[in-house]
């Protein structure tokens, strides 16, 4: 049993199932006809000869052979019908929000699962061929993919035009989403570059000014180390001080007496 909620083996948890398609029941026509003909072949002699055969069987000395043959024949019909039903039931096409999955069961001992990313779809076409397909609206969908990946062929699916249309729409939406994401990434990168450039320019200016300031006013430059959240403010042509909103200056051995005093508040 597949894990709960999963429609195929490798299904991702965030994938949404858009379509879950089985072949059209009429595509099993050959199997249905062969099974019915096997049953009819068993019934016909009994219907035509009726009592003579039934009496003859039970009187015959070969009754054991007849019983074993009929039992084997019936079991064979059951086995064939079960196999054909399994082939029909386990042959599925799953269209998810990201992938296109084609699961084929050939007999009981062969299972093929092909998965294709919807973003790699290039062209989708559908075909209804012949009287029965036109009448009952089922046919084949061809999905061409980019690169060396083999093309996807979905045979005997009901309403092929609708499925082809859905695949194309999903592909377009994925491409649009991807282009939006790439655009966003591009814009973010550009913004980051601009910010980095501005920051670099500011740093250069700050470095230039601080060099000038250190030359002009040495004690005030030393006091800037007391503040954690520095802000660069240019006071006048000669002085640059990196400080917060307001700062209490304590007496420092590097401070110049007369200019800064203990407990003096300077607001900028």
């Amino acid at each position: 049993m597949l894990s709960k909620g999963a429609y195929y083996d490798e299904q991702q948890s965030d994938e949404k199932i858009i379509h879950f398609i089985r072949r059209h029941p009429l595509s099993m026509g050959s199997w249905i006809v062969s099974i019915i003909s096997l049953v009819v072949a068993l019934i016909i002699p009994f219907v035509i000869f009726q009592e003579d055969i039934i009496k003859g069987i039970f009187i015959s000395k070969n009754i054991h052979y007849i019983i074993v043959t009929i039992a084997c024949y019936l079991l064979l019909i059951f086995a064939v019908s079960l196999t054909s039903w399994i082939n029909y039931y386990l042959d599925v096409i799953v269209i998810t929000s990201n992938h296109l999955v084609n699961i084929k069961n050939i007999g009981l001992f062969r299972r093929e699962v092909s998965e294709q990313n919807l973003a790699r779809v290039q062209d989708v076409s559908s075909k209804m061929n012949g009287f029965w397909q036109t009448l009952f609206r089922y046919g084949t969908v061809y999905v061409e993919t980019a690169g060396e990946a083999p093309n996807f062929i979905m045979e005997n699916v009901p309403r092929p035009y609708k499925i082809a249309n859905t695949i194309m729409k999903l592909h377009e939406s994925i491409i649009n989403n991807n282009s939006q994401i790439t655009q966003e990434i591009f814009v973010k990168k550009q913004n980051n570059n601009l910010i980095n450039k501005k920051v670099n320019n500011n740093n250069k200016n700050i470095n230039k000014n601080s060099i000038n300031n250190s030359k002009i006013n040495q004690p005030v430059a030393n006091l800037t180390n007391t503040s954690k959240n520095n802000k660069s403010l240019i006071i006048n042509e000669n002085t640059l001080i990196n400080l917060g909103k307001s700062q209490d200056f304590k007496k420092n051995k590097y401070s110049q007496e007369g200019e800064l005093q203990e407990g003096q508040e300077i607001k900028f």
Partner: protein, 95 residues
């Protein structure tokens, strides 16, 4: 009491079934019954494998359960009926 009977029946039924087949084999046509026994065993293995495949790859259990029940019931009935018919006709031939 019912549980005890059920428990014994589970062990007894296959033994009875095998005993009947064994009886059939030694009593009338050895090759015919050997053939039938082999056929039934192969059919059983094939059916088990098919049902196992169904359960393994199906995404809903509710759809396949009735199919499996119908299939096993009908094929089991065919096998049991054929064996009963073989025994009855064997006795009728003696009679």
């Amino acid at each position: 009491m019912i549980n005890k009977i059920k428990k014994y029946l589970i062990y007894l039924l296959p033994i009875i079934f095998l005993g009947i087949i064994f009886f059939l084999i030694i009593s009338y046509n050895l090759y015919l019954y050997l053939f039938y026994l082999t056929y039934v065993i192969i059919f059983g293995i094939y059916s088990l494998f098919a049902i196992n495949q169904l359960y393994r790859y199906s995404h809903t259990e509710s759809t396949i359960r009735p199919i499996v029940i119908i299939y096993t019931t009908v094929s089991g009935t065919v096998i049991v009926l054929s064996v009963i018919l073989l025994i009855v006709t064997r006795w009728s031939l003696y009679a």
